[in-house]
Symmetry: C2
Subunit: 240 residues, 2 copies
């Protein structure tokens, strides 16, 4: 079967000043596409380019473009990919796995990503393209009710222990299985990896302790997935 | 097919003074057996009867007895039930769902059950059979490095807000799905229910705020499962 030229997949991504894709939600879809063996073209966008790029239709990336149509929201994209490409490896074996991954995501956003934002909010600002920094600061400081990014992250080192503790359930799981999804990686791995990619793209304070062997082994295995998709010399160290 | 008389299932359970089965791990298996439509006979045991009952072979319940053989550890029992009764509804649709439920359990034990123990350790003692209380106190206070159960729980009300916050991911999930497992309950529901049954079996301090509607609706639905298996007039209120 020959694919029509317009069925080529384009993935609209958020990039930093150094060109690296940094959004944890975009990384989910990068891994989802790799999981399914689907080739795609990256379309890099800065924070302030996103609303303009889609005439206001999407305010966030990822946005998947395929066959002339556009789809936003990482969960909608992931489910769409499983429906649209039923002959490629499935992201979700069925509705129960999907529900469980959503429950995992709820935990990960609440206990982990919130804390990571508290560590790296200023680092994201500083790593953004210069023309995006004003927007990033204004929008995030508004959410912080006027606290500056500098004040918000000033005592961040003191919050490292609680952040590392919050990762404990991942370590429990990785003492049992090579991946969060079990014997092979699933969308829960991609969600967590997205968070770690985001932290490693910007973080000037290493997230993890040197002796965090369980997480280190999983991160090494995971960075190697799909021909080393996650490997990038621009990454900052995740370990002290 | 006629089952041999000795293939009858017996579930060894931990009971309180009032006769109620209280172990969160036993409740998982009670729900697992109900999920699979398997009848069983309960064998009630107090804390101090458990080691004697099995000649030291099992130190904890649940213990499943079937066809003359005994099996401990709730995870081993759950997986055994799916293997042994392949024609009844499955607990796990496959290895990915099972791995995700284990990850959920790791989170639930770490963020929720630890906190519940901090709220209800003394209540468990007081609800235990009188002849079990000394053992319960000694073994738990040893784990607490000598802190008494009274001192450990003295300021428990001040820890309610953090405990309620820790349940946030459940609320997120239950805003999307009727059960943690999605459209229908799965083993993640049974794990969480086990925790709530334990709290409601002993707790003299209501765990949840009156307006916690998401959790309330799920608890009502869940208590009704399998002919109201969870309903029991001896339960203490979970809501303020």
């Amino acid at each position: 079967m020959t694919m029509a030229a317009d069925s080529k997949i384009r993935l609209h991504e958020l990039v930093l000043e150094n060109g690296r894709s940094a959004s944890p939600y975009v990384w989910r879809i990068r891994y989802a596409l790799a999981h399914k063996g689907l080739a795609y073209e990256s379309v890099p966008l800065g924070f302030t380019e996103i609303p303009k790029a889609f005439d206001g239709r999407f305010k966030t990336v990822p946005v998947l473009e395929m066959g002339g149509s556009m789809l936003g929201e990482s969960w909608d994209i992931a489910e769409y990919l499983d429906r649209e490409f039923p002959d490629t490896p499935k992201l979700f074996s069925g509705p129960a796995e999907l529900a469980m991954v959503r429950l995992f995501e709820a935990w990960f956003l609440w206990e982990v990503m919130r804390r990571l934002f508290g560590l790296y909010a200023l680092d994201v600002h500083n790593a953004a393209r210069p023309e995006d920094r004003g927007y990033f600061r204004r929008s995030r400081e508004a959410r912080l009710k006027g606290t500056t990014l500098e004040a918000f992250t000033a005592d961040r080192a003191s919050r490292l222990p609680a952040t590392r503790e919050a990762l404990y359930p991942l370590r429990t799981q990785l003492a049992r299985f090579p991946f969060l999804g079990g014997a092979s990686p699933n969308y829960a791995d991609y969600i967590a990896l997205g968070g770690f990619h985001w932290a490693a793209s910007v973080g000037t304070l290493p997230l993890l302790a040197r002796d965090d062997d369980g997480l280190r082994a999983w991160l090494e295995r995971s960075m190697d997935l799909y021909g080393g998709l996650g490997r990038d010399p621009r990454l900052k160290p995740l370990f002290e």
